[in-house]
Assembly symmetry: D2
Homo-oligomer: 228 residues x 4
């Protein structure tokens, strides 16, 4: 699948208001904002919600994780092949809340590629971003763990980390960079795009908002203002 | 939910022919056998298949695993609450292909109970079965890992392990015991029930069979022959 | 080895002032207090310090952990056999800072027994204490993780947890119980012993003290006052 | 510490004849071969053996692993600082028998550098070797896991993997490459050096040999023949 850039990727995590039926509702809000404001929005959901959310919306759906296993005698792991069949177009990998072994990261990217799933590898800093680039994932998302869930956006507080990550990743391969952690406002998004990222990875600012539609509106408008 | 005993619990694992659309088909075969032969059959499926399989059949659906986390900022874990909302009535825990920390096992059983999910804790031997009993799960399944996937059934090859497990678990609490590993034939099932188990946990004998319906027929008839 | 009870087991963790040469010095202080006040004191040290501390003192030395592997092609794990040869008489297992899989816990207790090492299994609550009893370790230490490193002692704040743990463990086997977490004063120790424990597991109150000898003196005197 | 290249790094693993007193003996054999044949030999030993082996020999001693933690309230982990104080000059990291998370790998290399420990990061293939190079360790060791412990040497069977690893690592940084897995004979070593590696990582060929001295002699002579 081809994802339009810049991308707003909304991570539903395991937030109460982004599970099951509510995951469908929130995904529909994302879909509506995407259509209304003409920007590219995707959602990453619980493994168990991929099927129902994929049926409910036409925007791209990601898994929040896949395990480094293939079909066979494995009990209770999240399979790339199954995630794909249930409607996902891609998956997050190595999120700061779900770090994985370096060998499993390489295997997971390979397995995902083989199954036709896009990969978004999360990296807490520029060195790990560069390392991840060796595996040639489709996206790398810079998220300093200490800013996740805060009101301090990576693009405002640590712009040099974003630019250094872009530079180090590009020294290996031309992989689009997303950034995340602390993204709250359109201004945070604008700064991120100015720094050269191809999108943002966002969670609580959208999922915990009383009005996610308006938050997405401000993000989309910030992106539009940079791309005219 | 109340599960009728004795129970045949079919673990779909990540077998190619038990994923996605094929998971629905196999679950329907299990449902048909359950209705036809009047025995209690449940299925344990990939997290991503719980929703669609639960919609497709009316027999009990289990998750193959849940993680020891509750709703909140957790990315890519399998949530008891979500598994429940998507239609599962229970979950496997600590399968030999997915061992977990003792503290997470206790937490997972507690979280599952709180969310109204049944728990089937897998134990590779009688000591671990007894330990698991301290957490008061709904079922304990004895599965010596060295027999899983073989043609040597635990009930035939290691009957003393089954009886010792029943005895040790019962010294803690009255928890129904299932057994698994190497169960292939009606005779294996018959022996297991004779030893005092309340059901079997089976995977490849059903999922990899060319004719799972006939396999389930033989299992159901073996159970019936013991309960008349 | 036979350990005299009640036991004061001092966990050196990875505290700066309890590493290498300083581990020897602190162990000597423990040895001196043991001799002077006639109470049983043992130390648990970094894997790398077992040899030198064992050479430096004659009180019992424990490892802080062993891995569930035996001699062979394993790189970088802490081997029971090696810990024993280097002078340890026992090991902690499943400390709240080092939780392990339930199957590895059983294996580790078995391997330690085979190699002649005593085992002290840490449990965060009474259910896990009871579960651990199924594996028949030499000691079980109750340490509610939320009190570790605080000034609130388990014996004062949660006496019912201690008595419930003793009761549940004894329903399985007669295994001596230690308790830990928040133990700071002789009074905390006195209360613990009154509740029926056979010793305490202590870390920061001793290792971070400016005067560990005096702390141990107060602990020893509290124990003596209970055992006359 | 400065290590002379090419290096023969002998991994003692947890082999019975390379533990405790026997680790000292084997390390002395390595030391003798190093002196006699004028080649650079180092040993990697169990955490518990670092102190005694460092006292027994003057060749460089490595730890087989360190954990990604620093001094403080951590129980049972292998600390860089402690490994250093006990005499090690470096450590293996991410051995195929001890894979670690990508974030822990980065942290471990950083912590080791801070403590003055050399790092040898093991990589199962060229992509992981390149990724590891982003963290700027002192050495990268290529070891295809499927050849470890076999009689098929990586230098003979997969020379293109060695050259590709050297090339990919050098595209990031000038880090000396070792290779390992299946190295048995002087000829294997000769081929490895011809391919451009700066040394070998070897285990069973030396540790399980009846005559490790002769094995090391053949390795040293093969290296010498390449460096005259």
């Amino acid at each position: 699948m081809k994802i339009s850039l810049p991308l707003i990727l909304v991570n539903f995590k395991a937030y109460d208001n982004a599970l099951g039926k509510k995951a469908e509702t929130l995904a529909k809000t994302c879909e509506k904002a995407s259509a209304e404001f003409g920007c590219s929005i995707a959602v990453a959901v619980q493994p168990g919600d991929i099927y129902r959310v994929s049926k409910a919306v036409s925007i791209p759906v990601f898994s929040e994780h896949i395990d480094a296993v293939e079909a066979g005698a494995h009990t209770g792991y999240v399979l790339a092949k199954n995630v794909k069949e249930n409607g996902a177009v891609g998956t997050l990998l190595n999120h700061s809340e779900h770090r994985i072994k370096i060998d499993d990261l390489e295997d997971s990217v390979d397995i995902a590629r083989k199954e036709g799933l896009l990969t978004v590898v999360c990296a807490s800093n520029d060195e790990i971003a560069q390392a991840a680039a060796s595996f040639d994932p489709d996206f790398i998302a810079i998220e300093p763990p200490e800013l996740i869930g805060t009101n301090i956006s990576v693009s405002s507080a640590r712009p040099e980390l974003v630019t250094s990550s872009i530079q180090r990743v590009n020294s290996v391969s031309q992989i689009p960079i997303l950034c995340g952690a602390g993204i709250r406002t359109g201004d945070d998004v604008k700064k991120a795009v100015e720094l050269g990222v191809k999108g943002i990875l966002v969670a609580s600012a959208v999922t915990l908002s009383k009005d996610p539609y308006s938050v997405l509106e401000s993000f989309c408008k910030a992106i539009k203002s940079q791309h005219q």
